[in-house]
Amino acid sequence: MNVKEEGRPSKEVKPAASGISTVRVDKDYSLWKEKSLDEFRRVVSMRKRVNKQMVYGSMVCIAALSALLAACTKESADPAPGASSGEGGAKRGQISVSLYDRGTVPQQVGTVEKNNWTQYVNEKGPVDVKFVPIPRGESVQKLNVLFASGSAPDVIHEFDSPFRNQLYASKQIMPVDDLIEKYSTVYKKLLQKYPELKKAATKPDGKMYEFGRVQRLVGFQALFIRNDWLKKLNLKVPQTTEELLQVAKAFAEQDPDGNGKKDTYGIALSSETGATVDTMFQNFGWIEEGGKMIKDWDRAQAALAFKKQIYDSGLTDKDFLADKNGQKSIQDWVSGKTGIFVGRTVDTVNFKTYYEPLKKNVPGAEVIAIKLPESPYGRFAAGVNNPVQMTTVINASAKDPAAAMKYVDFMSSDEAAKSFRYGFENVHYTVGPQGCPVQKDPEKYKTEIAWNVDFQLLLQQIEMGDCAQVEAQLNPDVPLEKDFIEIIKQNNEANLASDVKYGRITHAEHFPSLPANLQTIATNTAQISDIYNKAIVSGDKYTVDQAMKDARKMWDDQGGKQLEDFYGKWYAEQKDKAFLAADMMKFAKK
């Protein structure tokens, strides 16, 4: 029974796969060969008198041209592959939907626009869906072009919130309140259960324009510290930024790895670790004070002074500025050279990036995730995910918005969520002792399911309970994975504890987008970070005070005041309506 069922889906999938890519190209080629040969013969008989070189020349030319024609005509004769399936069904709506293409769809299951999951959506879903692949890396560019030429898909999945705001501003997407009211069942319920979904989707004109996914609030960034080093040097977990500095100093100077060389760093300073130092001091540029959103300078100064102190005391990599994407700092961490480092605990891949290689290189390493130390400005969460993430909009020129709504309903349903996440019961998983699905065959899972993340943009992970959390996806029987499950738990506690605040006004994705002219100002004023960096590495030559003075001057010269006005006005108008930090906290596990 099991064997049979296991066999079925893969059989269904295979012919579809071979039908697409290989055959098409071959056909193209043979067409090209045949045509060009024919043309060639005709040319030869027609122009027998023409000398030899001429014939070769025109042969090349005609071969090229006919190949071109072959490519063109074939295209127009062959309707889009996705559209054909499920025709004949009475009154099924038809829509096109954008789908990120990451080049990760295994060949056995097909292509991005036609594979086992597009088939699933077309068979189980209420509408016929034609998927339009959007290259992940250049998605905004591609979508822009599609919109400009009037060929954008009906439903657009896109993570980039400034881009979605731009679509809203240019009226290229439609308000969805009425659609939800009239056609939705699943998403309507979600809106009642999580009113924040509505908050986050509502644009300045008071209507909803976006659909999103709700996730449980968990720790995102994690402040890792080497507990074995702490023990060895007889130190306590740092509770304040002052203590953190002491610990980093000890890590850098007292040879915690015991190799007799002074080759360890106390703390990393590039990329996410540097950003987390800012988090400790709540240095996010904007703060809320007396019910108003204002530009902050004090916290910036404190954070800068702290970083400079780390750098001047030689507690970090001297070349941290050259480590733009943080790759070097990760290497230092996993090779056991850094004592304090910020990684992540939101994804199983984090285990493979931050923990497994470290334990391989330094088997004795012991890692814990700790609360951010307290600064004069309070104690803050290192970072949390965006619990209400907007991902989906409907094209204003969609011909069948009702069908689009039904698609959204289907994609956010529990049934679809379960299938996308785990596959099918007894085919891909069985229910394990804790009630969570357990993979049957990792190989099969990898080819048929693992890559389908881009179908999950409306997946309501919070509805799926504990099983869908990262912890449940690691295997507690493997010692290293068990350690990491513990670290994830520590980090969730550290980030969501009651004495810890979320320092930002709201998650970056929920900030309002700037109009184009202010965008330029924002880009220009962002160069203030160069001033700060200069101050960190310049020793006595360039003091923190001087840097702050220069930064403020740059801010004023570049028109930063306009940004202050814009955000100030937005906050004054929207602070009761917009999705802000306080809303986020509701999504933590009680």
Binding site: S21, V25, Y29, N51, Q53, M54, G57, V60, C61, A64, A67, L68, A71, C72, E75, R102, G103, T104, Q107, Q108, T111, E113, P135, R136, G137, E138, K142, N144, V145, A148, S149, S151, F159, Q215, Q331, D332, V334, S335, D347, T348, V349, K352, T353, E356, P357, N385, Q389, R421, Y445, K446, I449, A450, W451, N452, V453, Q456, L459, Q461, Q469, Q473
Partner: protein
């Protein structure tokens, strides 16, 4: 003749400089090869230098096994082969008349073409034109939007201009028409520049990325550059997967995938290069000296 001390010094200096230049080109390539062949664990720890640490073909496996890379490779060849042939055809067809000084308006048309080197229509207008021509989702969009490179056309035109006019006169005396003159005299004399420009076009088409990305929607028509870029991108854009990602999708470091992708892209060109190189060098020289 014996080299003087000064000359020896000069040669030594030259050798050092050239070796340094050669190494600065070679070392990154060797480094990439060694990264692509290393164990991902070692890559992540940053201990790989010029020799692979812990041999592993995993990153190549990730690129080749179960992906569309074979089709993409074939697509790249078609795109490059046909594209180069078309481009050369039209470049010659433009360069020849413009190189004749008895062609009325040659200067005007040349300036018109030079104008396109400085000003372009921009992405979206171009896209609309391509769409109106029904070329979306065909390689025609890639071939026709960059059919003749103005720079290449100018190089070829200059080359044609410097073929001695006496040849033309002699041929005309014997009753040779323009087509025949072009085919039997000009082109055989221009092998170097044809080889060089073909290589320029070829490399251009082989590496064409953005046009394919924008104009081609059907993923089975992607070429290697786009496919590999997609794979590399998806390895590094992890932030958004935010809890939705499934466990063993990504076990490789983006660095290893990047390296093997680059090597796979570069290798075919490396193989072709030596065969065209002698013409290539000569072609550039000739154009440069005479132009």
């Amino acid at each position: 003749m014996k080299d003087t001390w000064g000359e020896k010094l000069f040669y030594a200096f030259n050798y050092v400089l050239l070796t340094a230049a050669a190494l600065s080109c070679l070392l990154p390539l060797i480094y990439l090869i060694s990264i692509s062949l290393s164990d991902s664990q070692a890559v992540a720890s940053g201990i790989v230098s010029l020799w692979p640490v812990g041999w592993s073909l995993d990153s190549y496996k990730a690129l080749f096994v179960g992906t569309n890379i074979k089709e993409a490779f074939w697509n790249s060849i078609v795109l490059t082969g046909v594209g180069t042939a078309l481009s050369m055809l039209f470049t010659i067809a433009a360069a020849y008349p413009l190189s004749r000084n008895y062609f009325i308006g040659a200067r005007f048309f040349t300036l018109l073409i030079v104008f396109t080197m400085m000003f372009g229509g921009g992405l979206i207008p171009t896209y609309l034109v391509v769409k109106a021509l029904g070329l979306i989702n065909t390689y025609g969009a890639v071939w026709f939007t960059g059919l003749v490179s103005a720079y290449n056309m100018l190089v070829m035109m200059t080359f044609f201009k410097h073929i001695p006019a006496e040849l033309d006169e002699a041929a005309q005396m014997d009753g040779c028409g323009e087509w025949r003159y072009l085919a039997t005299i000009v082109l055989p004399l221009s092998v170097p520049v044809i080889a060089a420009l073909s290589l320029f076009y070829g490399v251009g088409y082989w590496n064409s990325f953005f046009n394919v990305l924008i104009y081609i929607n059907d993923t089975s028509k992607y070429n290697m550059a786009v496919l590999i870029q997609q794979m590399v991108q998806s390895q590094s854009l992890l932030a958004e997967l935010n809890q939705s990602s499934s466990s063993d999708q990504i076990v490789l470091t983006p660095e290893a995938i990047k390296a093997s992708g680059i090597i796979t892209m570069v290798l075919p060109m490396l193989v072709v290069y030596p065969f065209v190189q002698k013409h290539f060098v000569k072609g550039i020289m000739l154009g440069a000296i005479k132009g």
